[in-house]
C-alpha cells in the first residue's frame, strides 16, 4: 500500500506536504523545464508587492558554510504584472498556489490582497512579515506582536483565502509571534524566514552584500528552525509549515516529527532543482519502510522526555 501523503491546512488539501519556499522558486514557470510542477504539494511564489521593485544592486548573494546569505530586496514584477503575466501560467497547474505578499505599509499589503482576491486562482496567501532585507516594513511587522495583529486583521478583512503568516526567527519569542498571528486571524504559520547575517570580504574589507546584512538560509540554519517549529507546535494550536534548510527527505521527516504539517523547500532548490521531487519520493519510502500508512503517523510524534 502506498502511504498517504495528503495533508489539509485550513480546508485546502495538499496532495503531499512538500511545498517550495518563496523567493527560491520564482513564479513557478522558471522551473517548468526542470521538474514536473504538478507533482509538488504546492508552490509559494516570490514576494509580490504593490509596485514593481528592481531589488538591491549586486552583490545580492554570498556563499557561506552550508548555506548562503541573500539580500535581494524583494525584487518582483508588482501585483499588476503578476496578475496579468504570471497567474495565467500558475492556474494551469494542478497544485496548490500560495501567493506570498509583502509591503512597506499595512495599506500596501491590504491592496495587494484585495487585488488577488479579485483576480482569483489563488488558493492561499502567505504574508511575508519577516523579510530582513528592506528598510521599511517587512520584518518590522513580524517582530512586534501588536503590529502583527494589526496587519493580520486588516488583511483578513479583504480576503476570503486562508492566510499563512510567515514568521521571522529574529525575535525574542517565536511562540508569542505565532500566538499574535493566530489572534489576528492567521489560518497557519510558516517558519522560519532567514536569520540576519553578515559576511565581510577580508581582501577589500567590504561587506559581501551591497545591503551590508542579509538573510542566512540553507542547512546551516536547520537546527534553529527545528527548535522553533517544536516550540510553536507545543504552545500554539495552529497548523505549522516548517521551513529552514530542508535538503534531504530525512530533514523533512525531522520537521514533521516536531510538528510541521507541511514543509517548504527553499535554498535546496538552488542546488538541486529536483530536491522537492526527491523529498516527496523519500518521504513515501520512509513511511513505507516503517509500514506507516500516512504522513500523519509522524507529524508531532517526536519522543521528548519533557
Amino acid at each position: 500500500m502506498k502511504p498517504d501523503l495528503r495533508v489539509d491546512i485550513a480546508g485546502v488539501t495538499f496532495k503531499n506536504p512538500v511545498l517550495t519556499a518563496s523567493g527560491t522558486f520564482g513564479y513557478g514557470e522558471e522551473f517548468a523545464d526542470l521538474i514536473d510542477l504538478d507533482a509538488l504539494g504546492g508552490i509559494v511564489t516570490k514576494s509580490i508587492t504593490l509596485h514593481e521593485r528592481p531589488g538591491h544592486p549586486p552583490p545580492r548573494t554570498c556563499e557561506t558554510a552550508a548555506g548562503m546569505l541573500n539580500a535581494i530586496g524583494l525584487a518582483n514584477v508588482g501585483i499588476e504584472r503578476f496578475i496579468d503575466e504570471k497567474i495565467p501560467f500558475l492556474k494551469t497547474l494542478d497544485t496548490v498556489i500560495i501567493v506570498n505578499v509583502a509591503g512597506s505599509t499595512i495599506g500596501e499589503y491590504v491592496e495587494v490582497c484585495r487585488r488577488l482576491e479579485k483576480a482569483g486562482h489563488v488558493d492561499m496567501i502567505e504574508l511575508n512579515v519577516s523579510c530582513p532585507n528592506v528598510d521599511e516594513g517587512g520584518m518590522e511587522f513580524g517582530t512586534d506582536e501588536a503590529s502583527l495583529i494589526r496587519i493580520m486583521t486588516a488583511v483578513r478583512e479583504v480576503t476570503t483565502r486562508p492566510i499563512i503568516a510567515k514568521l521571522s526567527p529574529n525575535v525574542t519569542s517565536i511562540v508569542a509571534m505565532a500566538r499574535a498571528a493566530k489572534e489576528g486571524g492567521a489560518s497557519a504559520v510558516s517558519l522560519i524566514n532567514t536569520l540576519v547575517g553578515m559576511a565581510v570580504n577580508v581582501h577589500d574589507w567590504r561587506p559581501s552584500l551591497s545591503n551590508t546584512t542579509g538573510g542566512l538560509s540553507g542547512p546551516a540554519i536547520k537546527p534553529v528552525a527545528v527548535a522553533m517549529v517544536y516550540k510553536v507546535a507545543r504552545a500554539v494550536d495552529i497548523p505549522i509549515i516548517g521551513i529552514g534548510g530542508i535538503t534531504t527527505p530525512a530533514d523533512a521527516v525531522e520537521f514533521h516529527l516536531v510538528g510541521a504539517r507541511a514543509i517548504q523547500i527553499g535554498t535546496a532548490n538552488f542546488i538541486d532543482p529536483d530536491a522537492g521531487m526527491k523529498i516527496i519520493a523519500g518521504l513515501r519510502q520512509y513511511l513505507a519502510e516503517r509500514r506507516l500508512g500516512s504522513i500523519h503517523d509522524i507529524i508531532g510524534k517526536v519522543k521528548t522526555s519533557s
Binding site: E30, D33, G55, R60, T61, E63, I271, P273
Partner: protein
Amino acid sequence: MKKIIPQYCSIADNRRLDADGRYFRLKVADFKPVRPVYPGQFVHIKVADAYDPFFRRAFSIADYDPATRRLEIIYKVVGKGTSTLAIRRKGDSLDVLGPLGNRFSAASKTKTVALVAGGIGFPPLIYLAKALLSRGFSGDQLLFFYGGRTKTDLIELRRIRALGVHVFPCTDDGSYGFKGFVTEAVMQRLADANPKGVYIYGCGPEPMLATLQESAMRRGYAGELSLEAPMPCGVGVCLGCIKPTLDNPRKYVRVCYDGPVFKLGEVKL
C-alpha cells in the same frame, strides 16, 4: 518535454595543463543532455557531494560531442570551488546540471568575425569557432584574439591554431605575440575594416569586456559578450547573478538565464 535534471556523470579525465597547476581540463563521460548543447551555454557542477562548497559552480562548455557524449571544460583554479574540483579524480562521479543559459547567435556569413578571449574566457570561443567553421565560415574570416597576462597563460594556443583560424596571441607583458591588452590588438587589426562588416564575440574578465564594449561600440561594431558571475541557482530564480543594463542601471538582467551571452551594448560593465 523532458526535464533538465542533474545527472551523475563519470570523470573521464581531470588533468592540469600547465606547470604551475593553475589550469585544468575536465572531461566528463556519458553526459546525456535532454536538449541540444550550443556554444555559449554552461553547465552547473556540484564539485563535491557536500555542503561546503555549498553552491554549484558554472563552467562554460569548451566542447561537446553528442556522438561520444563527452563534455569538455577548461578551468582555472581561483577559489574554493575550482580547487575542490581540481582534486576530483578520473572515475569519480560528478553531478552535472545543464546545458543552461542562452547561446551565441550565428553571425552573418558576410562578416569578419573577431573572437576575443581574455584569460580563462577562451573555452566557449573555441567551441563557437568550431561551430562557425562547420556552418561554412572560412578560416580566413575568423580572427581569434587570444590574450593573457603572460606566455604561460596561453595554454591552448596550439589547439586554437589547429582550428585553422587566424590567431592573434597577445600578452600584457609582451612575453609572446602582441605586447598589450587583447582589446588593443583587436582595435588595431580591425582599424581599416568597414565597421558594418565586423562582428565581435567576447569572453573574458569584466574589465577587459568593459574596454571591448566601449571601443567596439565607438567604432559601431555589432557583437556579443559572454559574462561570468557567481551563480547560486543557474536557472533564473534566485536573482543573485544580476547585472544592470546600459540603458537603465535600475533594470537588471540575470547572467544565468537572460545570458550568459548578451548583445554588445546590453549590459553595464
